[in-house]
Amino acid sequence: MKKSSLSGLVVLVIRRDLLLAVRRRADVLTTLIFFVMVVSLFPLGVGPEMDMLRKMAAGVLWVAALLSSMLSLGRLFSADYLDGTLEQMMLAPQSLSMLVLGKMAAHWTVSGLPLVLMAPVLGVQFDMPAQALGVLIIGLLLGTPVLSMIGAIGAALTLGLRGGGVLLSLLVLPLCIPVLIFGTGAVEAVSAGLSAASHLSLLGALLVLALVSTPWVTAQALRISME
């Protein structure tokens, strides 16, 4: 028997959550299919006007990513809360914030990363130019982890509440607006022939800010929910 270190414990949480996601594949697939469906509905609904589609592409993809990330947030802590694993996590000999960070990382890998990987394929439906697609991907890569991290605060606060899912969206969506603005702004800038660097830097800054603050805030929210 060996004592595990802080990094060992974080890796354990990530591996555990990924293993559970593999065993419950349906949950992961619903999120991804929802994203693909919502994005694909727009070209069908709006009609094949290339100019209009190109203009709205970034916005549609970002809003769809935002909505589908809401779908999986409810499950982030609720299963662990109901079966008592969360109690054991709070009693772990390392800081709860770091374990929460591990759970956020696993959540992003399962529900954020697939969206980033799907985005280029979906972007083609909107006739997005290659350069805009590239910026969209970088933006999503920087922005979707922020969505997972902000969402985790909401998930922790609404833990154990009836009808928590709707409340969760109402709490989290307004907080995600900056990510949406800078994410779509980057693509618009490139389409207008400007540099996307400033928008992407701001997204990066949001990511760093979220990395530093949200695990601690989420851990505090979990402690409140456990009482």
Binding site: S4, G8, L12, L19, L82, A92, L99, E227
Partner: protein, 204 residues
């Protein structure tokens, strides 16, 4: 050594207990007794730090547990009403993960040995959802075997267990006390631990 002094706890507007003081020394075991709703679980959850006491302090080796936080967690083991068992994972994976969360890295052989001692031979690799309630409890109790915590906080450890498993838990507790461990537990079933004096704490 666990020292509780002048502890008061309430749920909502209802005061469960107040002015509660006791000391638990190494090698001692304490049974918390009381009717349903008298605050046994709340007391244990307060000791763990899940609930904030209204007043009073809980000290571990002379230091307030709220300041110790993670250092205290490393020396205690809590087994509540919930088993913390995932249906999708096997008994083996469940035990290795729950031990890992408590800071102990188990290899497969150590985990299998622990599960076999808990009477789960042949069930190690079955997903937990096909195990019976008692078997799931046994998986949770296997953590007692692999833990090196000094203080065990057990909330109704005997629920859903058969006579054989109850005897096994008694044996584990006796071994733990012989190693100068401490146990505080609640139960509605009689629990005899050979050669140990039991302190009782009645809540009303």
């Amino acid at each position: 050594m666990l020292e509780v002094s002048n502890l008061a706890c309430s749920r909502g507007d209802h005061r469960l207990f107040s002015g509660l003081s006791f000391t638990l020394h190494p090698g001692q075991i304490m049974q918390v007794q009381g009717a349903n709703g008298s605050g046994k679980t709340s007391l244990l959850r307060t000791l763990c730090g899940f609930l904030m006491p209204d007043e009073g302090t809980i000290a571990w080796r002379g230091e307030d547990t709220r300041n110790l936080d993670e250092d205290f967690h490393a020396e205690m083991l809590y087994l509540g009403h919930l088993n913390a068992i995932k249906d999708e994972l096997s008994a083996l994976e469940n035990l290795r993960i729950s031990a890992g969360l408590a800071g102990i890295e188990l290899n497969e052989k150590e985990a299998i040995t622990a599960l076999r001692r808990m009477g789960l031979r042949g069930r190690e690799r079955l997903p937990a959802k096909v195990l019976s309630q008692g078997q799931r409890r046994r998986v949770a109790l296997a953590r007692l075997l692999v833990s090196d915590a000094g203080l065990w906080v057990l909330d109704e450890p005997l629920t859903a267990l058969d006579a054989g498993a109850v005897a096994l838990v008694q044996e584990l507790i006796a071994e733990h006390l012989a190693r100068q461990g401490m146990v505080i537990f609640t139960t509605h079933q009689p629990l005899q631990v050979a050669g140990m004096e039991m302190c009782g704490l009645s809540l009303s």
